[in-house]
């Protein structure tokens, strides 16, 4: 896959695979192209060349809303929640593309099972939540479309360390209990790799290392560059 921002080549030929039911992490420094990769998968950006294949279907040229309908849902970087909608309304927006007659109550129960804190905040406006709560909301909102593949962009960004731990625990729990596939983009490499099955390391738009998450943590190069020695 190749992606350009105008004349800037952001992604220069990477090939990643996300196995069904696994948690895969994409790590790398600022500007390595992690977010670009996610946005290309979810259809917000179109690649210059290359393909996005999902469940044996080429979804490269589908629009973002069609891709959500296929079962890929993204929690965008910087917790782009709707500040002027309540928590409940934010969650309802997440279910926007669903065609089936869903039961909101059941879905909310499902969400509260993982993020009980949102239950207390249901009537509050999104903009009044703390950073960690906003992140929980962003992930929950992405879950409302009942995705098979969940894309998480920097879930730890600007959040208290204790909450980051909780969020990652819930992601793992989610994966175990529902079998949902998760692709995480993270700067907090150690934490992300600890909680995933497989990892890719991106550097300035190119893939440099890949492997089992447990092995990557031990890898000398990765240690030096991303894990602080």
């Amino acid at each position: 896959m190749y992606v350009n921002y105008g004349a800037i080549k952001a992604i220069r030929g990477i090939n990643i695979q996300v196995k069904e039911g696994s948690i895969v992490t994409l790590i790398g420094a600022n500007g390595a192209g992690k977010t670009t990769t996610l946005r290309t998968i979810s259809g917000l950006i179109k690649p210059a060349s290359g393909k996005v294949i999902y469940c044996n279907e080429d979804i490269t040229n589908l629009s973002a809303d069609k891709i959500v309908q296929r079962g890929i849902s993204q929690s965008p970087e910087g917790r782009l929640i709707f500040s002027n909608l309540t928590v409940l309304e934010n969650l309802e927006m997440g279910a926007y593309t669903r065609k089936d007659k869903y039961k909101l109550k059941d879905d909310l129960e499902f969400i509260f099972h993982f993020f009980p804190r949102l239950k207390e905040r249901l009537k509050q406006y999104g903009g009044t939540l703390s950073g960690g709560e906003q992140q929980m909301l962003a992930i929950s909102r992405a879950l409302m479309s009942k995705p098979k593949l969940l894309l998480l962009d920097e879930p730890s960004l600007g959040i208290a360390p204790l909450l980051v731990k909780t969020i990652f625990e819930q992601i793992v729990k989610l994966n175990r209990e529902t079998g949902i596939t998760v692709l995480i983009v993270e700067q907090n490499a150690y934490l992300a790799l600890q909680n995933s099955n497989y990892g890719y390391v991106l550097e300035t738009g190119e893939l440099i290392i890949e492997g089992d998450a447990k092995e990557l943590i031990q890898n000398e190069e990765v240690k030096k560059a991303y894990l602080g020695g």
Partner: protein, 338 residues
């Protein structure tokens, strides 16, 4: 159900008040009619600028389309309408309803043509495109002789042999003709019935899942798109609905003053409507309605200080914006923590 009931009550009340409307002083009657038309214009622009966050500066353009389409049809095809529906009060009501509908639809269709390409633009760019569009409409009308060009349009001469002309033809003799002036259909009932319907429509739209999508698009386009909301589609829906009601308001305006010129729909008119929306509070229904009422009446009240009128008016606007930047009834928008 409850809101439909309220709409029905509102329509009945308007109908009853209308029975006494001709007892009103003509000066007050005129102001009240303009209040109603401005409420329609402001609420429909609020749908685009306030709720959906798309900065449109072209509302007068849609109003012009509605006015000229409606006035043109009502005069050029006056004999057709008269023979179809008669000239009784029910007949003219049906005629007017059809005219308003066509006026609204024409403005809506043009809104669609302008909106589909330009709503991919954001913020200032969209403002410039819509401003340019409104000017194109105005200048085009100035070049169209059959609707009076720059001189304005008041009616048409229809000769028995089918010739239609804005002026009396000197070289045609011996053929009978009749002058069809722009019919003055607009009265208290129609203006406020349409106002009620417009408010009902916008209110219902905003309380539906569509409304939440509008707010989502305004709050954060990227997030909305990631949720699978087709942002362009919702922007176009808001834009076209707004244009439709602007067209209806144009028709009401035209059939009230019965003489329109392209200058009635210039840039200042668009700004005037925009000021109502900003003053009332972007995205606040009640605020925008009150602002429309206030800003229509205020210049009249200030007639007492004649030459300082516009200064006082502008000063009030400046003071209000300094003390309440979110508008009279606007809610301070929450910024997400970045």
């Amino acid at each position: 159900m409850k809101d439909k009931f309220i709409l029905l009550v509102a329509l009945v009340v308007v109908f009853v008040i209308n029975l006494f409307a001709d007892k009103l002083d003509p000066y007050f009657h005129t102001i009240i009619i303009f209040v109603g038309i401005n409420i329609i214009l402001a609420t429909s622009l609020n749908l685009i600028n306030g709720y959906t966050g798309q900065f449109s500066l072209g509302h007068a353009g849609f109003m012009a389309i509605g006015a000229y389409v409606s006035l043109g049809l009502s005069t050029y095809f006056a004999p057709v309408f008269n023979s179809m529906f008669g000239t009784g009060s029910i007949g003219t009501s049906v005629t007017f309803l059809i005219l308003m509908l066509i006026a609204g639809l024409s403005a809506g269709i043009v809104g669609l043509l302008v909106g589909v390409p330009s709503l991919r633009l954001k913020g200032d760019y969209l403002a410039i495109v819509t401003l340019g569009f409104a000017e194109i409409i105005r200048v085009s009308i100035q070049g169209m002789d059959f609707i009076g060009a720059a001189q304005g349009f008041r009616g048409v001469y229809i000769y028995d042999n089918g010739i239609r002309s804005l002026e009396m033809l000197p070289d045609v003799t011996g053929i009978g003709y009749k002058f069809y002036s722009v019919p003055s259909y607009t009265d208290f009932f129609w203006v406020f019935a349409m106002t009620a319907i417009c408010i009902f429509f916008v209110n219902n739209l905003m309380n539906s899942t569509y409304g939440r999508a509008f707010v989502a698009v305004k709050d954060d386009e990227v997030a909305a798109e990631a949720m699978g909301i087709n942002t362009t589609k919702f922007k176009v829906i808001a834009f076209v609905s707004g244009a439709f009601f602007a067209g209806v308001a144009g028709s009401l305006y035209g059939h009230f003053v019965t003489f329109v010129t392209p200058e009635d729909f210039n840039f200042l008119r668009s700004v005037e409507i925009l000021v109502m929306v900003i003053l009332g509070g972007m995205g606040s229904m009640i605020g925008v309605v009150i602002a429309a009422v206030l800003l229509t009446i205020l210049p009249e009240v200030l007639r007492g200080v004649s030459e300082y009128r516009m200064i006082v008016y502008s000063l009030l606007l400046v003071i209000l914006m300094l003390t309440r930047p979110q508008g009279l009834f606007g809610v301070k928008l929450l910024k997400s923590k970045k």
